[in-house]
């Protein structure tokens, strides 16, 4: 319990520091946002009006406080580009990005876990070395280029897949899959490469231990040895990587949504940056980061469930 409490305090502190950075970094911005919005030849009275409307005439700590309370109440102000609440814009795009991220994570786990275990059992054999080399290349390939290759070689040849755009789940489930599957594979491949290496190392460390020899000598089927005993013990290091990967997947969606023209949060962020729409940029960055920090917190809780020893430390 004390462990969880300490982790939770750390989570809050991190989020506060993150909010300092996200808020503070926009204060060193050269130029006046109001002048950018209205143009340099705007009427001074008009400038003054907009400034008080946006709350920019208030002291900095009041602005920060307003912003941080808005974070919890869901009122992050209006987007400059879309003249809509930041929150509505994000909620609109969130389901798309979340489904993309979920499919990606599923693919990463479904492929890298068995693959890593397979390679660990055949350590230093040809299949293991081939896989290790292949994953090194997989880590080096830029995901957006991989996406373009998939468009050229898969989407253009297989009728099922769409080259770009998005079909909502509510319209058609297979339609949604036909638009999300290739982007998910695109994001997944480099992550599979990374995760594979960690799984392989984690399993290798376990396989050498005495308990594995003991259960093997009891005549337990190899499949049960691997999945029930070895994997369970190797899960802690694997979970750690999983936290890193979910951050990478969030980052990956930003780029890959661009490749496949998927209207998700990532595309919104890029549009916001191109239009210098700072309230929107701030909001998106803050929420994505909170999501990533929370996932890592949840993983920490999972640790202590899987391995009671951690609770004591």
């Amino acid at each position: 319990m004390l462990y969880l409490l300490r982790r939770f305090v750390l989570l809050i502190v991190t989020v506060i520091f993150v909010s300092f950075i996200t808020f503070g970094v926009f204060q060193i911005l050269p130029g006046d946002p109001v002048l950018t919005m209205l143009g340099t030849e705007a009427d001074p009275a008009q400038i003054e009006n907009l400034r008080s409307e946006l709350g920019l005439d208030l002291p900095l700590y009041v602005q920060y406080f307003d912003w941080i309370t808005g974070l919890f109440t869901g009122d992050l102000g209006n987007s400059i580009r879309f003249s809509m609440p930041v929150m509505d814009l994000m909620l609109d795009r969130l389901p798309v990005t979340l489904s993309l991220a979920a499919i990606t994570l599923f693919i990463v786990c479904a492929v890298s876990l068995p693959l890593g275990m397979f390679a660990a059992r055949r350590q230093n054999k040809l299949s293991d070395l081939t896989l290790s080399t292949a994953t090194q290349i997989g880590m080096a390939i830029p995901s957006f280029w991989l996406g373009m290759m998939l468009i050229i070689y898969v989407a253009m040849n297989v009728d099922f897949f769409r080259i770009s755009g998005y079909i909502p789940w509510s319209t058609s489930v297979t339609g949604a899959f036909s638009t999300l599957l290739l982007p998910a594979i695109t994001i997944a491949i480099p992550q599979i490469a990374i995760n594979f290496r960690y799984v392989r190392t984690a399993i290798l460390e376990q396989i050498r231990l005495d308990y594995v020899r003991t259960i093997r000598s009891k005549g337990i089927v190899e499949r049960i040895v691997m999945y029930k005993h070895v994997l369970k013990n190797a899960l802690i290091p694997i979970l750690t990587v999983f936290g890193l990967i979910s951050a990478e997947v969030m980052a990956g969606t930003i780029i890959v949504e661009q490749v496949f023209s998927i209207p998700g949060v990532g595309q919104l962020l890029v549009t916001a940056i191109n239009n210098r729409d700072f309230p929107l940029v701030q909001g998106i960055v803050m929420y994505i980061t909170i999501a990533v920090v929370s996932i890592n917190f949840i993983i920490d809780i999972l640790y202590s469930i899987i391995d009671p020893r951690i609770r004591i430390r």
Binding site: V13, F17, N124, I255, A272, N274, R276, V292, N296
Partner: protein, 273 residues
Amino acid sequence: MTSKLLKNFNLLIGLFIVGGLLLIMIISFFYTPHDVTAMNIAQKLLAPNGTNWFGTDEFGRDIFSRIMKGTQTAFLVGVITVFIGVVFGVLIGGIAGYFGGWTDEILSRFLDALMAFPGIILALMLVAIFGPGIVNTSIALGVIAIPGIARIVRSGFVQQREAEYVLAAKLIGANAPRIMFRHIFPNISSQIIVAATITFATAMLAEAALSYLGLGVQPPDPSWGRMLKDSQSYLTSAPWYVYAPGIAITIMVLGLYMLSNAVRDLLDPRSKQ
């Protein structure tokens, strides 16, 4: 046996790739087969042929020459990124690790927060504020690199600060900066070199991604990521346009990864098993 072979393999191939690309970069300062910026609309989107080995782009510029020139951008971004990451990473990590206590607590929480941002998102935010371009992109990527390096440096300093040679240095009256940089720093420099090579590789990938989004290196500076962005409009009509920049990025990053693996094996005895 096999792992030793693999290590040398990493070192050889890594050196070969990175050395080769460095050579191409040096050559590209003096010579490229075609002018990198000269546009010739009559020659646009040609398929690879005898004169334009990798074909031409939508302005009729030779892709092979632009790939060559792109090595300059790639190395420049990598060097600035690593420089910023190492200088600030060593300063922050060193101060946190050496002094400990509240200094460490505050700096560590700050680093945690920087690390909590998915890398590319922090870079995007910084680029949104300072604007795109080679220098700004490198600064943004350098800032992302700081927390990772700082953490490694910090734990190095924490391990070393109780060592007897540090106590000896204190007793002869050396001040904190002298102990930190003349005595402790050399003992953790190998870990910093390993971290720097990995940073170099990830910086290449991140630069390509930012430039692909149109928020990194701007034309007319040739950048592989930017070339990929431009090529996307011609996926059907000129697929070869897409190959060269992507393969160039992959080869360079692969070479740097292999080199960083080899460097880690050479310098960090703990990773040998």
